[in-house]
Amino acid sequence: MTIAYQRAVTGRRAGRSLSLRRREELTGYLFISPQVLGFLVIVLGPIVAVVVYSLQNRTLLAPEATFAGLENYRHMVESDPYFRRMLLTTAIFCAGLVPINVGLGLCTALLLSSNRRGDAVFQAIFFLPVVTSAVAWAVVWRYAFQGELGPINQFLAVLGVTGPNWLQEPTWALVVVTVTRALKTVGLKMVIFIAAIQGIPKEPLEAARLDGANSWHVFRHIMLPFLAPATFLVVVITMIGSMQVFDHILLMTAGGPSNATMVLPYYIFHQAFRAFDTGYASALAVVLCVLTLGLTTLQWAVRRRVVPDEQ
Protein backbone atom coordinates (compact mmCIF):
# COMPACT_ATOMS: atom_id res chain seq x y z
CA MET A 1 0.00 0.00 0.00
CA THR A 2 2.84 2.32 0.82
CA ILE A 3 4.31 1.66 -2.59
CA ALA A 4 1.02 2.29 -4.31
CA TYR A 5 0.67 5.56 -2.50
CA GLN A 6 4.18 6.57 -3.40
CA ARG A 7 3.57 5.73 -7.04
CA ALA A 8 0.39 7.74 -7.06
CA VAL A 9 2.20 10.74 -5.69
CA THR A 10 5.34 10.46 -7.78
CA GLY A 11 3.37 9.66 -10.90
CA ARG A 12 1.21 12.73 -10.59
CA ARG A 13 3.84 15.24 -9.70
CA ALA A 14 7.14 13.76 -10.73
CA GLY A 15 8.91 17.08 -10.44
CA ARG A 16 8.02 17.69 -6.81
CA SER A 17 8.33 14.09 -5.63
CA LEU A 18 11.62 14.60 -3.85
CA SER A 19 10.46 17.55 -1.84
CA LEU A 20 7.24 15.72 -0.98
CA ARG A 21 9.17 12.75 0.31
CA ARG A 22 11.46 15.06 2.19
CA ARG A 23 8.48 16.76 3.74
CA GLU A 24 6.93 13.46 4.72
CA GLU A 25 10.15 12.41 6.36
CA LEU A 26 10.51 15.64 8.32
CA THR A 27 6.87 15.47 9.38
CA GLY A 28 7.45 11.93 10.60
CA TYR A 29 10.34 13.00 12.79
CA LEU A 30 8.32 15.93 14.06
CA PHE A 31 5.34 13.71 14.93
CA ILE A 32 7.37 11.19 16.87
CA SER A 33 9.62 13.80 18.52
CA PRO A 34 7.62 14.21 21.78
CA GLN A 35 7.63 10.46 22.26
CA VAL A 36 11.29 9.99 21.34
CA LEU A 37 12.58 12.95 23.38
CA GLY A 38 10.59 11.83 26.41
CA PHE A 39 11.84 8.28 25.92
CA LEU A 40 15.45 9.49 25.82
CA VAL A 41 15.07 11.42 29.07
CA ILE A 42 12.76 9.11 31.04
CA VAL A 43 13.74 5.63 29.81
CA LEU A 44 16.93 5.35 27.75
CA GLY A 45 18.94 7.98 29.66
CA PRO A 46 18.21 6.33 33.01
CA ILE A 47 19.08 2.88 31.61
CA VAL A 48 22.48 4.19 30.52
CA ALA A 49 22.83 6.03 33.84
CA VAL A 50 22.05 2.94 35.86
CA VAL A 51 24.93 1.12 34.17
CA VAL A 52 27.25 4.01 35.08
CA TYR A 53 25.88 4.16 38.64
CA SER A 54 26.51 0.45 39.03
CA LEU A 55 30.22 1.16 38.64
CA GLN A 56 30.20 3.76 41.39
CA ASN A 57 30.07 4.05 45.14
CA ARG A 58 26.99 6.12 45.83
CA THR A 59 24.39 6.50 48.50
CA LEU A 60 20.96 8.02 48.38
CA LEU A 61 21.92 10.53 51.04
CA ALA A 62 24.71 12.32 49.17
CA PRO A 63 24.73 13.27 45.49
CA GLU A 64 28.51 12.72 45.15
CA ALA A 65 29.78 9.44 43.77
CA THR A 66 33.19 7.88 43.34
CA PHE A 67 34.30 5.34 40.75
CA ALA A 68 34.28 1.83 42.13
CA GLY A 69 34.94 -0.36 39.13
CA LEU A 70 33.24 -3.71 39.46
CA GLU A 71 33.12 -3.52 43.26
CA ASN A 72 29.30 -3.59 43.37
CA TYR A 73 29.20 -6.69 41.19
CA ARG A 74 31.91 -8.34 43.27
CA HIS A 75 29.87 -7.60 46.39
CA MET A 76 26.82 -9.12 44.71
CA VAL A 77 28.53 -12.39 43.88
CA GLU A 78 30.92 -12.76 46.80
CA SER A 79 29.92 -10.93 49.94
CA ASP A 80 26.21 -10.06 49.89
CA PRO A 81 24.76 -12.72 52.22
CA TYR A 82 21.25 -12.27 50.73
CA PHE A 83 21.97 -12.18 47.02
CA ARG A 84 21.95 -15.89 46.25
CA ARG A 85 18.98 -16.54 48.46
CA MET A 86 17.20 -13.65 46.75
CA LEU A 87 17.95 -15.02 43.28
CA LEU A 88 16.75 -18.45 44.35
CA THR A 89 13.55 -16.95 45.79
CA THR A 90 12.99 -15.06 42.55
CA ALA A 91 13.46 -18.28 40.59
CA ILE A 92 11.12 -20.26 42.88
CA PHE A 93 8.52 -17.52 42.68
CA CYS A 94 8.75 -17.51 38.89
CA ALA A 95 8.72 -21.32 38.72
CA GLY A 96 5.60 -21.36 40.90
CA LEU A 97 3.74 -18.81 38.81
CA VAL A 98 4.25 -20.63 35.51
CA PRO A 99 2.41 -23.94 36.17
CA ILE A 100 -0.52 -22.21 37.88
CA ASN A 101 -0.89 -19.71 35.06
CA VAL A 102 -0.54 -22.30 32.31
CA GLY A 103 -2.65 -24.94 34.08
CA LEU A 104 -5.56 -22.81 35.21
CA GLY A 105 -5.35 -20.59 32.15
CA LEU A 106 -5.57 -23.56 29.79
CA CYS A 107 -8.27 -25.36 31.82
CA THR A 108 -10.54 -22.35 31.99
CA ALA A 109 -9.89 -21.54 28.33
CA LEU A 110 -10.79 -25.08 27.22
CA LEU A 111 -13.99 -24.98 29.25
CA LEU A 112 -14.95 -21.47 28.17
CA SER A 113 -13.95 -21.26 24.52
CA SER A 114 -17.16 -22.44 22.90
CA ASN A 115 -19.45 -19.52 23.79
CA ARG A 116 -21.93 -21.59 25.78
CA ARG A 117 -24.46 -20.00 28.05
CA GLY A 118 -22.82 -18.49 31.13
CA ASP A 119 -19.33 -18.55 29.61
CA ALA A 120 -19.15 -14.77 29.44
CA VAL A 121 -19.96 -14.52 33.14
CA PHE A 122 -17.24 -16.98 34.12
CA GLN A 123 -14.76 -15.24 31.83
CA ALA A 124 -15.58 -11.92 33.48
CA ILE A 125 -15.09 -13.39 36.95
CA PHE A 126 -11.71 -14.86 36.07
CA PHE A 127 -10.63 -11.67 34.35
CA LEU A 128 -11.70 -9.22 37.06
CA PRO A 129 -8.49 -9.66 39.15
CA VAL A 130 -6.39 -8.71 36.10
CA VAL A 131 -8.03 -5.30 36.05
CA THR A 132 -8.01 -4.88 39.82
CA SER A 133 -5.07 -2.94 41.23
CA ALA A 134 -2.21 -4.99 42.62
CA VAL A 135 -2.52 -2.89 45.76
CA ALA A 136 -6.15 -3.81 46.45
CA TRP A 137 -5.50 -7.45 45.59
CA ALA A 138 -2.55 -7.64 48.00
CA VAL A 139 -4.38 -5.81 50.81
CA VAL A 140 -7.27 -8.28 50.77
CA TRP A 141 -5.07 -11.37 50.67
CA ARG A 142 -2.87 -10.06 53.44
CA TYR A 143 -6.02 -9.59 55.47
CA ALA A 144 -7.27 -13.07 54.58
CA PHE A 145 -3.99 -14.78 55.49
CA GLN A 146 -3.37 -13.12 58.87
CA GLY A 147 -2.37 -15.40 61.74
CA GLU A 148 -5.19 -16.21 64.16
CA LEU A 149 -7.53 -13.44 63.12
CA GLY A 150 -7.56 -13.92 59.36
CA PRO A 151 -10.70 -15.33 57.75
CA ILE A 152 -8.83 -18.28 56.23
CA ASN A 153 -7.55 -19.48 59.57
CA GLN A 154 -10.93 -18.78 61.13
CA PHE A 155 -12.56 -21.07 58.57
CA LEU A 156 -9.90 -23.69 59.19
CA ALA A 157 -10.58 -23.36 62.93
CA VAL A 158 -14.25 -24.11 62.28
CA LEU A 159 -13.09 -27.31 60.55
CA GLY A 160 -10.90 -28.10 63.54
CA VAL A 161 -7.63 -27.30 61.78
CA THR A 162 -5.14 -24.87 63.24
CA GLY A 163 -3.78 -22.96 60.28
CA PRO A 164 -0.21 -21.69 60.25
CA ASN A 165 0.67 -18.05 60.68
CA TRP A 166 0.89 -17.90 56.90
CA LEU A 167 2.75 -14.69 56.27
CA GLN A 168 5.08 -15.03 59.25
CA GLU A 169 6.49 -18.43 58.34
CA PRO A 170 9.12 -18.29 55.57
CA THR A 171 7.94 -21.25 53.48
CA TRP A 172 4.23 -20.52 53.76
CA ALA A 173 4.79 -16.83 53.07
CA LEU A 174 6.46 -17.63 49.75
CA VAL A 175 3.72 -20.10 48.84
CA VAL A 176 0.93 -17.64 49.68
CA VAL A 177 2.58 -14.76 47.85
CA THR A 178 3.12 -16.94 44.77
CA VAL A 179 -0.37 -18.43 44.63
CA THR A 180 -2.21 -15.17 45.24
CA ARG A 181 -0.10 -13.44 42.61
CA ALA A 182 -0.77 -16.25 40.14
CA LEU A 183 -4.53 -15.96 40.69
CA LYS A 184 -4.36 -12.30 39.75
CA THR A 185 -3.00 -13.04 36.29
CA VAL A 186 -4.72 -16.31 35.34
CA GLY A 187 -7.55 -14.43 33.58
CA LEU A 188 -5.13 -12.87 31.14
CA LYS A 189 -3.62 -16.22 30.23
CA MET A 190 -7.14 -17.60 29.80
CA VAL A 191 -7.86 -14.89 27.21
CA ILE A 192 -4.67 -15.70 25.30
CA PHE A 193 -5.52 -19.42 25.31
CA ILE A 194 -9.12 -18.78 24.24
CA ALA A 195 -7.88 -16.80 21.26
CA ALA A 196 -5.48 -19.62 20.40
CA ILE A 197 -8.15 -22.32 20.74
CA GLN A 198 -10.58 -20.40 18.59
CA GLY A 199 -7.86 -20.04 15.98
CA ILE A 200 -7.40 -23.79 15.57
CA PRO A 201 -8.64 -24.88 12.15
CA LYS A 202 -11.85 -26.86 12.44
CA GLU A 203 -11.27 -29.48 9.76
CA PRO A 204 -8.75 -31.71 11.57
CA LEU A 205 -10.88 -31.61 14.73
CA GLU A 206 -14.03 -32.67 12.93
CA ALA A 207 -12.22 -35.28 10.87
CA ALA A 208 -10.83 -36.81 14.05
CA ARG A 209 -14.25 -36.84 15.71
CA LEU A 210 -15.80 -38.47 12.66
CA ASP A 211 -13.08 -41.08 12.85
CA GLY A 212 -14.27 -41.81 16.36
CA ALA A 213 -11.50 -40.19 18.38
CA ASN A 214 -12.60 -39.38 21.93
CA SER A 215 -12.27 -35.97 23.51
CA TRP A 216 -8.98 -36.80 25.18
CA HIS A 217 -7.40 -37.97 21.96
CA VAL A 218 -8.68 -34.95 20.09
CA PHE A 219 -7.20 -32.72 22.80
CA ARG A 220 -3.92 -34.62 23.12
CA HIS A 221 -3.09 -35.20 19.48
CA ILE A 222 -4.76 -32.34 17.64
CA MET A 223 -5.44 -29.38 19.92
CA LEU A 224 -2.30 -29.61 22.04
CA PRO A 225 0.16 -29.41 19.12
CA PHE A 226 -1.73 -26.37 17.86
CA LEU A 227 -1.60 -24.84 21.34
CA ALA A 228 2.11 -25.43 21.91
CA PRO A 229 3.26 -22.01 20.67
CA ALA A 230 0.57 -20.21 22.67
CA THR A 231 1.59 -22.18 25.74
CA PHE A 232 5.20 -21.18 25.29
CA LEU A 233 4.10 -17.58 24.86
CA VAL A 234 2.13 -17.75 28.11
CA VAL A 235 5.18 -19.21 29.88
CA VAL A 236 7.41 -16.35 28.73
CA ILE A 237 4.80 -13.71 29.50
CA THR A 238 4.40 -15.15 32.98
CA MET A 239 8.16 -15.02 33.48
CA ILE A 240 8.29 -11.39 32.39
CA GLY A 241 5.30 -10.69 34.67
CA SER A 242 7.10 -12.29 37.58
CA MET A 243 9.52 -9.37 37.41
CA GLN A 244 6.67 -6.91 37.89
CA VAL A 245 5.55 -7.78 41.40
CA PHE A 246 6.78 -4.86 43.43
CA ASP A 247 3.34 -3.80 44.73
CA HIS A 248 2.32 -7.32 45.65
CA ILE A 249 5.47 -8.02 47.69
CA LEU A 250 5.55 -4.62 49.37
CA LEU A 251 1.98 -4.85 50.62
CA MET A 252 1.85 -8.51 51.53
CA THR A 253 5.21 -9.18 53.17
CA ALA A 254 7.67 -6.34 52.43
CA GLY A 255 10.15 -9.07 51.53
CA GLY A 256 9.83 -10.83 54.90
CA PRO A 257 9.69 -12.86 57.04
CA SER A 258 13.50 -12.92 57.29
CA ASN A 259 13.82 -12.18 53.54
CA ALA A 260 11.81 -15.28 52.56
CA THR A 261 9.86 -13.36 49.90
CA MET A 262 12.63 -11.00 48.80
CA VAL A 263 12.57 -11.02 44.99
CA LEU A 264 14.78 -9.03 42.62
CA PRO A 265 12.51 -6.04 41.80
CA TYR A 266 11.72 -5.53 45.48
CA TYR A 267 15.35 -6.03 46.49
CA ILE A 268 16.38 -3.16 44.20
CA PHE A 269 13.91 -0.86 45.94
CA HIS A 270 15.04 -2.14 49.34
CA GLN A 271 18.73 -1.54 48.66
CA ALA A 272 18.14 1.90 47.14
CA PHE A 273 15.46 3.41 49.35
CA ARG A 274 15.71 1.47 52.62
CA ALA A 275 19.44 0.72 52.80
CA PHE A 276 20.29 3.87 50.74
CA ASP A 277 22.96 1.98 48.77
CA THR A 278 22.05 3.30 45.33
CA GLY A 279 25.30 2.09 43.77
CA TYR A 280 24.60 -1.50 44.70
CA ALA A 281 20.91 -1.11 43.82
CA SER A 282 22.01 0.04 40.35
CA ALA A 283 24.10 -3.10 39.89
CA LEU A 284 21.02 -5.14 40.82
CA ALA A 285 18.98 -3.05 38.37
CA VAL A 286 21.43 -3.94 35.61
CA VAL A 287 20.82 -7.62 36.38
CA LEU A 288 17.05 -7.04 36.14
CA CYS A 289 17.54 -5.10 32.91
CA VAL A 290 19.56 -7.92 31.33
CA LEU A 291 17.03 -10.53 32.48
CA THR A 292 14.17 -8.51 31.00
CA LEU A 293 16.00 -8.02 27.71
CA GLY A 294 16.67 -11.75 27.49
CA LEU A 295 13.05 -12.66 28.19
CA THR A 296 11.74 -10.04 25.76
CA THR A 297 13.97 -11.38 23.00
CA LEU A 298 12.76 -14.89 23.76
CA GLN A 299 9.16 -13.70 23.67
CA TRP A 300 9.62 -12.11 20.26
CA ALA A 301 11.19 -15.22 18.91
CA VAL A 302 8.20 -17.19 20.18
CA ARG A 303 5.70 -14.66 18.99
CA ARG A 304 7.02 -14.75 15.48
CA ARG A 305 6.24 -18.46 15.46
CA VAL A 306 2.80 -17.98 17.00
CA VAL A 307 1.65 -15.17 14.76
CA PRO A 308 3.82 -15.34 11.65
CA ASP A 309 1.93 -12.65 9.74
CA GLU A 310 2.48 -10.06 12.42
CA GLN A 311 5.21 -7.48 11.92
Binding site: V43, Y53, A134, V139, P265
Partner: protein, 302 residues
Protein backbone atom coordinates in the same frame (compact mmCIF):
# COMPACT_ATOMS: atom_id res chain seq x y z
CA UNK B 1 -4.19 -7.57 16.39
CA UNK B 2 -4.87 -11.11 15.37
CA UNK B 3 -5.53 -12.22 18.93
CA UNK B 4 -8.33 -9.76 19.59
CA UNK B 5 -9.93 -10.42 16.25
CA UNK B 6 -9.97 -14.05 17.18
CA UNK B 7 -11.34 -13.10 20.53
CA UNK B 8 -14.31 -11.33 19.02
CA UNK B 9 -15.08 -14.03 16.54
CA UNK B 10 -17.77 -16.31 17.84
CA UNK B 11 -16.48 -19.83 18.22
CA UNK B 12 -17.52 -22.55 15.84
CA UNK B 13 -15.88 -25.12 18.00
CA UNK B 14 -18.94 -26.50 19.72
CA UNK B 15 -18.12 -30.03 20.72
CA UNK B 16 -20.32 -32.50 18.92
CA UNK B 17 -22.91 -33.83 21.31
CA UNK B 18 -23.04 -37.54 21.85
CA UNK B 19 -25.88 -39.12 19.94
CA UNK B 20 -29.18 -38.94 21.75
CA UNK B 21 -29.94 -42.61 21.16
CA UNK B 22 -27.46 -44.11 23.58
CA UNK B 23 -28.61 -43.60 27.16
CA UNK B 24 -25.22 -44.40 28.67
CA UNK B 25 -23.54 -41.79 26.52
CA UNK B 26 -26.20 -39.32 27.49
CA UNK B 27 -25.52 -40.06 31.15
CA UNK B 28 -21.83 -39.41 30.56
CA UNK B 29 -22.66 -36.09 28.94
CA UNK B 30 -24.77 -35.05 31.92
CA UNK B 31 -21.97 -35.98 34.29
CA UNK B 32 -19.46 -34.10 32.16
CA UNK B 33 -21.64 -30.99 32.06
CA UNK B 34 -22.21 -31.14 35.81
CA UNK B 35 -18.50 -31.61 36.47
CA UNK B 36 -17.74 -28.69 34.21
CA UNK B 37 -20.12 -26.33 35.98
CA UNK B 38 -18.99 -27.59 39.38
CA UNK B 39 -15.34 -26.93 38.56
CA UNK B 40 -16.10 -23.50 37.13
CA UNK B 41 -18.30 -22.57 40.08
CA UNK B 42 -15.77 -23.62 42.70
CA UNK B 43 -13.03 -21.74 40.87
CA UNK B 44 -15.29 -18.69 40.57
CA UNK B 45 -15.84 -18.76 44.32
CA UNK B 46 -12.06 -18.63 44.83
CA UNK B 47 -11.85 -15.66 42.47
CA UNK B 48 -14.85 -13.88 43.99
CA UNK B 49 -13.72 -14.51 47.56
CA UNK B 50 -11.37 -11.51 47.80
CA UNK B 51 -14.01 -9.13 46.46
CA UNK B 52 -16.75 -10.51 48.67
CA UNK B 53 -14.50 -10.41 51.70
CA UNK B 54 -13.24 -6.94 50.90
CA UNK B 55 -16.65 -5.37 50.62
CA UNK B 56 -18.40 -7.23 53.45
CA UNK B 57 -15.50 -6.80 55.88
CA UNK B 58 -15.31 -3.11 55.10
CA UNK B 59 -18.77 -2.85 56.71
CA UNK B 60 -17.81 -4.70 59.89
CA UNK B 61 -16.77 -3.06 63.13
CA UNK B 62 -13.31 -3.51 64.65
CA UNK B 63 -14.49 -6.36 66.87
CA UNK B 64 -16.71 -8.21 64.39
CA UNK B 65 -13.85 -8.23 61.89
CA UNK B 66 -11.85 -10.42 64.33
CA UNK B 67 -14.72 -12.66 65.33
CA UNK B 68 -14.51 -16.48 65.18
CA UNK B 69 -16.24 -17.98 63.30
CA UNK B 70 -16.26 -15.18 60.75
CA UNK B 71 -19.55 -13.76 59.55
CA UNK B 72 -20.37 -13.95 55.85
CA UNK B 73 -22.38 -10.76 56.03
CA UNK B 74 -21.87 -7.95 58.53
CA UNK B 75 -24.32 -8.29 61.44
CA UNK B 76 -25.33 -4.71 60.98
CA UNK B 77 -23.50 -2.77 58.27
CA UNK B 78 -21.26 -0.20 59.88
CA UNK B 79 -21.39 2.66 57.36
CA UNK B 80 -19.46 4.69 59.92
CA UNK B 81 -16.29 3.03 58.53
CA UNK B 82 -16.72 4.96 55.32
CA UNK B 83 -16.87 8.20 57.29
CA UNK B 84 -13.85 7.36 59.43
CA UNK B 85 -11.83 6.60 56.30
CA UNK B 86 -11.98 10.32 55.55
CA UNK B 87 -11.49 11.58 59.11
CA UNK B 88 -8.54 9.31 60.00
CA UNK B 89 -6.34 10.89 57.32
CA UNK B 90 -6.94 13.27 54.39
CA UNK B 91 -8.20 10.48 52.11
CA UNK B 92 -10.45 12.88 50.18
CA UNK B 93 -7.28 14.77 49.30
CA UNK B 94 -5.63 11.51 48.14
CA UNK B 95 -8.65 10.74 45.98
CA UNK B 96 -8.52 14.20 44.48
CA UNK B 97 -4.77 13.87 43.80
CA UNK B 98 -5.23 10.50 42.11
CA UNK B 99 -8.12 11.72 39.98
CA UNK B 100 -6.39 14.87 38.75
CA UNK B 101 -3.09 13.03 38.15
CA UNK B 102 -5.00 10.33 36.29
CA UNK B 103 -6.69 12.91 34.06
CA UNK B 104 -3.49 14.80 33.31
CA UNK B 105 -1.54 11.59 32.59
CA UNK B 106 -4.33 10.26 30.38
CA UNK B 107 -4.49 13.43 28.30
CA UNK B 108 -0.70 13.49 27.92
CA UNK B 109 -0.42 9.84 26.98
CA UNK B 110 -3.28 10.10 24.46
CA UNK B 111 -1.86 13.17 22.78
CA UNK B 112 1.69 11.85 22.47
CA UNK B 113 0.82 8.31 21.48
CA UNK B 114 -1.85 9.30 18.94
CA UNK B 115 0.44 11.52 16.90
CA UNK B 116 3.41 9.20 17.23
CA UNK B 117 1.33 6.10 16.46
CA UNK B 118 0.01 7.86 13.35
CA UNK B 119 3.55 8.65 12.19
CA UNK B 120 4.66 5.05 12.71
CA UNK B 121 1.64 3.79 10.78
CA UNK B 122 1.50 6.23 7.88
CA UNK B 123 4.60 8.31 7.35
CA UNK B 124 7.80 6.97 5.85
CA UNK B 125 11.00 8.20 7.38
CA UNK B 126 14.46 6.72 7.75
CA UNK B 127 14.97 4.67 10.89
CA UNK B 128 11.25 4.18 11.44
CA UNK B 129 11.33 0.48 12.15
CA UNK B 130 14.53 0.65 14.19
CA UNK B 131 13.10 3.38 16.43
CA UNK B 132 9.88 1.44 16.79
CA UNK B 133 11.65 -1.77 17.81
CA UNK B 134 13.79 0.09 20.37
CA UNK B 135 10.61 1.56 21.87
CA UNK B 136 8.99 -1.87 22.04
CA UNK B 137 11.98 -3.35 23.87
CA UNK B 138 11.74 -0.53 26.40
CA UNK B 139 8.03 -1.24 26.86
CA UNK B 140 8.86 -4.33 28.90
CA UNK B 141 11.43 -2.62 31.11
CA UNK B 142 10.19 -2.47 34.72
CA UNK B 143 10.45 0.95 36.39
CA UNK B 144 12.57 -0.69 39.10
CA UNK B 145 15.43 -0.66 36.57
CA UNK B 146 15.33 3.10 36.06
CA UNK B 147 14.00 4.35 39.38
CA UNK B 148 17.39 5.20 40.96
CA UNK B 149 18.61 7.45 38.11
CA UNK B 150 15.10 8.93 37.82
CA UNK B 151 15.24 9.80 41.50
CA UNK B 152 18.66 11.49 41.05
CA UNK B 153 17.33 13.38 38.02
CA UNK B 154 14.21 14.60 39.78
CA UNK B 155 16.17 15.51 42.91
CA UNK B 156 18.66 17.59 40.94
CA UNK B 157 15.70 19.42 39.37
CA UNK B 158 14.17 19.98 42.80
CA UNK B 159 11.09 17.94 41.87
CA UNK B 160 11.12 15.39 44.69
CA UNK B 161 8.02 15.65 46.86
CA UNK B 162 6.04 17.24 44.04
CA UNK B 163 3.58 15.68 41.62
CA UNK B 164 5.75 16.45 38.59
CA UNK B 165 7.53 13.05 38.52
CA UNK B 166 4.15 11.31 38.82
CA UNK B 167 3.11 13.12 35.63
CA UNK B 168 6.33 13.08 33.61
CA UNK B 169 7.34 9.46 34.19
CA UNK B 170 4.02 7.88 33.13
CA UNK B 171 3.56 10.31 30.23
CA UNK B 172 6.97 9.56 28.72
CA UNK B 173 7.44 6.05 30.04
CA UNK B 174 6.18 2.63 29.01
CA UNK B 175 2.47 3.53 28.99
CA UNK B 176 2.99 5.94 26.09
CA UNK B 177 4.91 3.29 24.19
CA UNK B 178 2.00 0.92 24.66
CA UNK B 179 -0.30 3.74 23.54
CA UNK B 180 1.75 4.45 20.40
CA UNK B 181 1.71 0.76 19.61
CA UNK B 182 -2.08 0.47 19.99
CA UNK B 183 -2.68 3.62 17.97
CA UNK B 184 -0.32 2.45 15.21
CA UNK B 185 -2.20 -0.83 14.96
CA UNK B 186 -5.47 1.09 14.77
CA UNK B 187 -4.30 3.47 12.05
CA UNK B 188 -2.84 0.58 10.03
CA UNK B 189 -6.32 -0.92 9.86
CA UNK B 190 -7.95 2.25 8.56
CA UNK B 191 -8.42 2.40 4.79
CA UNK B 192 -5.93 4.83 3.28
CA UNK B 193 -8.21 6.29 0.63
CA UNK B 194 -9.71 9.11 2.73
CA UNK B 195 -6.33 10.25 3.86
CA UNK B 196 -4.94 10.16 0.33
CA UNK B 197 -7.87 12.24 -0.85
CA UNK B 198 -7.14 14.66 1.97
CA UNK B 199 -3.55 14.93 0.83
CA UNK B 200 -4.63 15.63 -2.72
CA UNK B 201 -6.95 18.33 -1.39
CA UNK B 202 -3.87 19.95 0.10
CA UNK B 203 -4.56 19.25 3.75
CA UNK B 204 -0.96 18.33 4.62
CA UNK B 205 0.05 15.60 7.03
CA UNK B 206 -0.98 17.45 10.18
CA UNK B 207 -4.33 18.39 8.67
CA UNK B 208 -5.00 14.82 7.58
CA UNK B 209 -4.09 13.53 11.02
CA UNK B 210 -6.16 16.06 12.94
CA UNK B 211 -9.23 16.28 10.68
CA UNK B 212 -9.49 12.84 9.12
CA UNK B 213 -7.60 10.19 11.08
CA UNK B 214 -8.03 11.36 14.66
CA UNK B 215 -11.85 11.61 14.60
CA UNK B 216 -11.99 8.02 13.34
CA UNK B 217 -9.72 6.90 16.16
CA UNK B 218 -12.19 7.76 18.91
CA UNK B 219 -12.91 4.15 19.95
CA UNK B 220 -9.21 3.29 20.14
CA UNK B 221 -8.54 6.49 22.08
CA UNK B 222 -11.37 5.65 24.46
CA UNK B 223 -9.96 2.21 25.26
CA UNK B 224 -6.48 3.66 25.68
CA UNK B 225 -7.87 6.38 27.96
CA UNK B 226 -9.47 3.82 30.28
CA UNK B 227 -6.37 1.65 30.50
CA UNK B 228 -4.14 4.68 31.03
CA UNK B 229 -6.29 6.17 33.76
CA UNK B 230 -6.28 2.85 35.64
CA UNK B 231 -2.53 2.58 35.13
CA UNK B 232 -1.96 5.97 36.70
CA UNK B 233 -4.53 5.29 39.44
CA UNK B 234 -2.71 2.11 40.48
CA UNK B 235 0.89 3.35 40.42
CA UNK B 236 2.66 2.59 43.66
CA UNK B 237 6.45 2.59 43.25
CA UNK B 238 6.70 6.13 41.85
CA UNK B 239 4.59 7.85 44.54
CA UNK B 240 6.31 5.79 47.23
CA UNK B 241 9.73 6.96 46.06
CA UNK B 242 8.92 10.57 45.22
CA UNK B 243 6.30 11.67 47.74
CA UNK B 244 6.72 12.29 51.48
CA UNK B 245 4.06 14.87 52.24
CA UNK B 246 0.77 13.14 53.18
CA UNK B 247 -1.13 15.95 51.46
CA UNK B 248 0.48 14.91 48.18
CA UNK B 249 -0.28 11.19 48.64
CA UNK B 250 -2.12 9.28 45.97
CA UNK B 251 -4.74 6.62 46.75
CA UNK B 252 -2.36 3.61 46.88
CA UNK B 253 -0.11 5.44 49.36
CA UNK B 254 -3.12 6.48 51.40
CA UNK B 255 -4.36 2.87 51.53
CA UNK B 256 -1.04 1.80 52.92
CA UNK B 257 -1.27 4.35 55.73
CA UNK B 258 -4.25 3.03 57.69
CA UNK B 259 -1.95 1.58 60.31
CA UNK B 260 -1.50 2.04 64.03
CA UNK B 261 1.76 3.23 65.56
CA UNK B 262 3.23 -0.29 65.28
CA UNK B 263 2.49 -0.48 61.56
CA UNK B 264 -0.34 -2.96 62.08
CA UNK B 265 -3.19 -2.29 59.64
CA UNK B 266 -6.44 -0.90 61.01
CA UNK B 267 -8.35 -3.41 58.95
CA UNK B 268 -11.89 -2.05 58.96
CA UNK B 269 -10.61 1.30 57.68
CA UNK B 270 -8.04 -0.09 55.28
CA UNK B 271 -10.60 -2.41 53.72
CA UNK B 272 -13.17 0.37 53.42
CA UNK B 273 -10.62 2.63 51.74
CA UNK B 274 -9.58 -0.23 49.45
CA UNK B 275 -13.21 -0.78 48.49
CA UNK B 276 -13.42 2.86 47.47
CA UNK B 277 -10.19 2.56 45.52
CA UNK B 278 -11.47 -0.22 43.26
CA UNK B 279 -14.58 1.71 42.19
CA UNK B 280 -12.96 3.09 39.00
CA UNK B 281 -11.86 -0.40 37.98
CA UNK B 282 -15.24 -1.95 38.58
CA UNK B 283 -16.97 0.85 36.67
CA UNK B 284 -14.51 0.57 33.78
CA UNK B 285 -14.96 -3.19 33.75
CA UNK B 286 -18.75 -2.93 33.63
CA UNK B 287 -18.70 -0.25 30.94
CA UNK B 288 -15.94 -1.54 28.68
CA UNK B 289 -15.13 -5.14 29.55
CA UNK B 290 -14.36 -6.21 26.00
CA UNK B 291 -12.03 -3.29 25.25
CA UNK B 292 -10.28 -3.79 28.57
CA UNK B 293 -9.67 -7.47 27.93
CA UNK B 294 -8.31 -6.73 24.47
CA UNK B 295 -6.03 -3.93 25.71
CA UNK B 296 -4.68 -6.00 28.58
CA UNK B 297 -4.13 -9.06 26.40
CA UNK B 298 -2.29 -6.75 24.07
CA UNK B 299 -0.01 -5.40 26.79
CA UNK B 300 0.89 -8.92 27.79
CA UNK B 301 1.46 -10.00 24.23
CA UNK B 302 4.09 -7.39 23.49
Amino acid sequence: MSSDVAFQTPARLRPTRPSRGAPSLRGTAIIATTARYLFLTVLSLVFMFPFWWLVTSSLKGPSEIRQTPPTFLPESPRWQNYVEVFTYQPFARHLFNSIYLGVVVTIGVLAISAISGYAFARLRFRGRSVIFVVLLVALMMPTEVTIVPLFSLMRSLGLVNTHVPLILIPIFGPQTILGAFLMRQFFLQLPRETEEAGMVDGLGHLGVFLRLALPLARPALGALAIVTFLYSWNLLLEPLVFIDDPDLYTVPLGLNSYTDSYGVPIWHLQLAATSISIVPMVVAFLVARRQLIVSFAFTAGK
